[in-house]
Amino acid sequence: MHPGDLSRFEIVSRQDFSDATYLLEVRHPMMARAARPGQFVIVMSHEHGERIPLTIADFDRSRGTITLVIQAVGKTTREMQQTCKTGTTLHAMVGPMGIPSPIGRARKVVCVGGGLGVAPMFPQARGFKANGAYVIGIVGFRTKSLVFWEDKFRSCCDEFILCTDDGSAGIKGLVTEGIRRAIAKHADIEEVVAIGPPVMMKGCAEATRAHKIKTVVSLNPIMVDGTGMCGGCRVKIGGEVKFACVDGPDFDGHKVDFDDLMSRLRRYAREERAAAERWSENCRMKNLADPVAPAVELLELPDPFEDVKGG
């Protein structure tokens, strides 16, 4: 086993789930062997690009690939949506990073995925199932058109609850409503695992706190190197400072200071907005020059922490 060519990161397949959500399958046989549920990678799409952390949604050891699910919200992720096609390569992909999620021997677990968080939740749900747990899957989306991986997720769950904010699919309500129902039905839930936007994970932690159910959340703050060198991803856990990249990304949801996390995620809101606007403007100019190219719609930028919906 010699590393050989570690420097070519070919996209071998791509799938579009909606206008904003897309899946990239990237070849990296060595990483596919090393990856465990809960870990993440840092990706640079081109030489001048940003380093962005993305949670590993799946890995396939026989195909030698890593799967990433990305939501186009900021400049980088929208640019990648246009440029990352099957057969192209990423400039850099490093990982797997972070401490793998400990998939214990809990007998009954609830696996909660919100939005993009559904993707990285999947390998954990599969892991719990393989360990013989009774798995209750709860996934939440804003609306029906954004739903993805429903069947894939359902296949490793004993019970499955789909929630949409507007009730266009599954039950109407947030994932916390799903958790409430699961807790009401099962008195013996040993663990809840939640991945999604911080505000959702905060809601999940609050929903389980009174029941004293162990709740694990996966944090994805702003990162630079992902190796514990810069401290940009520091989070407050029970009053202590931890680095999500090397001490996490999984933490006890009941101890996480989510307000601090959400505030820190807005650190570059102004620069992010400026970059996105400038990029959209450039695209529009290009499209004027080339009338056959479809116009790029500037989506209204959501709060930056939406950016991190699990991915």
Binding site: M1, H2, P3, L6, S7, F9, M30, M31, A34, Q39, M44, H48, G49, E50, R51, K75, T76, H91, A92, M93, V94, G95, P96, M97, G98, I99, V224, D225, G226, T227, G228, M229, C230, G231, G232, R234, K236, V241, F243, V246, D247, D260, S263, R264, R266, R267, Y268, E271, E272, A274, A275, R278
Partner: protein, 479 residues
């Protein structure tokens, strides 16, 4: 040596010190007495034959001068710029007893730059010896170790987690002190020696140290992963937006080119009034980077006095010239909140020097009632680092109680064939000390592999009747 004017340079990232012209170099070389006791060589962590290369400069044989330096140091252009010569070779220079010491660092840089310009790679013809060496981290320790092992005939692969090699020389030290082109040129020299660089590779997580030895065919491994895990102050306001580590600021600016945002995608916080805590080289770099990014005012807050300040003298001098305001004997108490999650200012207290502490420096003690506030919208921590936990989390290597890798006097870790050096062993230190550690580990690795070392003849002796210089035929796992 000529320098860019302080007013102009505080607005650009071009190098501050312009380097010697040929005439200046010859004039400076003449000042060396070529004294017989050669104290400068002993003052150098890698024992460069300093009088030897200065003599060659005097003879106008610059190529010869480079060959003398390259015997022991492949990174002349880097070390000439970033070594703290005033506490090493130049401190003990005989000329310095009565006059200014010979500017050894500047002469070394002159030779190193000439080598880069004229592409004088020294590519000795080495017979491959069949040993594969894995090096974790491409900073100064890893580069120095790689050079020595490659020169000994080993097949060397250097693994780097970032997308570019160079470690702290790239992400940490800014271009106005050490241009990235100089680092790239030195890396190119290593490539000419046959060293392979594999970037985007996080050792420990992608594969472990154990796997390198057991499965990947490396006969010996050197770990030089450097400093990590920047310390936070632990005062109120630590996690406000606008508070960041010098490592984050420098990495964004130097490696990811945030100074060219939005042409490069990585942003960097732009403070108008910046307070930098600490007064080491990293702090100086952070302050001067903030000035160049457009800060109106940059404060340095340091709890000891100027005498104890650990930065290179030239850096403090340059920082002062550029208009950094130094608050010596001042300790931060709190970072003040602007009510919107950002920074409004700092609360500090004056200190005075008391009795000497463990480090031999006089311990600063707070002066009662001397608290004061000043305005700032960005705070940068440059107060040192703790051990990076990744290798410890992913291997069975023994750590000391502070979390750094434990090594013996030969820089061997608790696992046979695995050596370590630089900041991951000692905690934060200098570039040249890391290079010294890389070279020392290389010597030990050669002895371990039984490679006869022409430069440093094996100490000899026998073990169980076997000549210690002979090759090892079996690897014994101790850990």
């Amino acid at each position: 040596m000529r320098e860019q004017d302080a007013g102009a340079r505080a607005k650009n990232f071009a190098e501050v010190a312009c380097g010697y012209s040929v005439e200046e170099a010859l004039r400076e070389a003449e000042r060396c007495l070529l004294c017989p006791d050669e104290p400068c060589i002993k003052g150098c962590p890698v024992s460069i034959d300093i009088p030897g290369f200065i003599r060659k400069i005097g003879e106008k044989d610059f190529r010869g001068a480079y060959d003398v330096i390259a015997e022991t140091n492949l990174l002349a252009a880097v070390c000439g710029r970033v070594c703290p010569q005033e506490t090493q070779c130049e401190q003990v220079c005989t000329v310095g007893e009565s006059l200014e010491p010979v500017a050894i660092g500047r002469l070394e840089r002159f030779v190193g730059d000439a080598a880069i310009q004229n592409a004088w790679g020294r590519v000795p013809s080495v017979a491959p010896n069949g040993f594969c060496i894995g090096i974790v981290g491409s900073g100064p320790a890893g580069m120095a170790c790689a050079a020595d092992m490659a020169k000994a005939g080993c097949e060397v692969t250097v693994f780097e987690a970032f997308h570019q090699p160079g470690g702290v020389l790239k992400y940490g030290i800014p271009d106005f002190r050490l241009p990235n082109e100089v680092v790239d040129a030195e890396i190119e020299n290593l490539r000419k020696l046959g060293v392979k660089f594999e970037c985007n590779t996080l050792v420990g997580r992608l594969f472990t140290i154990e796997q390198m030895i057991d499965e990947m065919g490396f006969h010996a491994v050197f770990i030089g992963t450097g400093a990590g895990y920047p310390s936070m102050l632990g005062v109120p306001g630590d996690s406000l937006n606008g508070v960041l580590s010098a490592n984050e600021l420098l990495t964004r600016c130097n490696l990811l080119r945030a100074r060219d945002f939005p042409d490069f995608d990585t942003p960097v916080p732009l403070g108008r009034q910046v307070a930098v805590i600490g007064a080491g080289n990293t702090a100086m770099d952070a302050m001067r980077v903030c000035l160049r990014l457009g800060a109106h005012k940059v404060h340095c807050v340091y709890r000891r006095s100027r005498t104890e300040c650990p930065a290179r003298a030239e850096e403090v001098h340059h920082a002062e010239q550029e208009g950094i305001e130094f608050h010596w004997l001042t300790a931060p108490l709190a970072i003040l909140d602007d009510g919107k999650g950002g920074v409004r200012g700092m609360r500090c207290i004056r200190m005075e020097l008391g009795e000497p502490d463990d480090s031999g420096r006089r311990r600063p003690v707070p002066v009662k009632g001397s608290e004061f506030d000043f305005e700032a919208d960005q705070v940068v921590y440059a107060i040192g680092t703790n051990a990076n936990p990744i290798i410890g989390q992913t291997s069975r290597l023994r750590l000391n109680k502070r979390g750094y890798l434990e090594t013996d006097g030969d820089l061997a870790t608790s696992m046979a064939g695995v050596y370590a050096g630089g900041d991951i062993v000692t905690g934060a230190a200098t570039v040249i000390e890391a290079m010294g550690a890389g070279r020392k580990a290389a010597r030990s690795m050669k002895a371990y592999l039984g490679i006869r070392d022409a430069e440093h003849a094996a100490t000899g002796g026998t073990l169980f009747g076997i000549d210690l210089r002979e090759r090892n035929f079996a690897r014994i796992r101790v850990a």
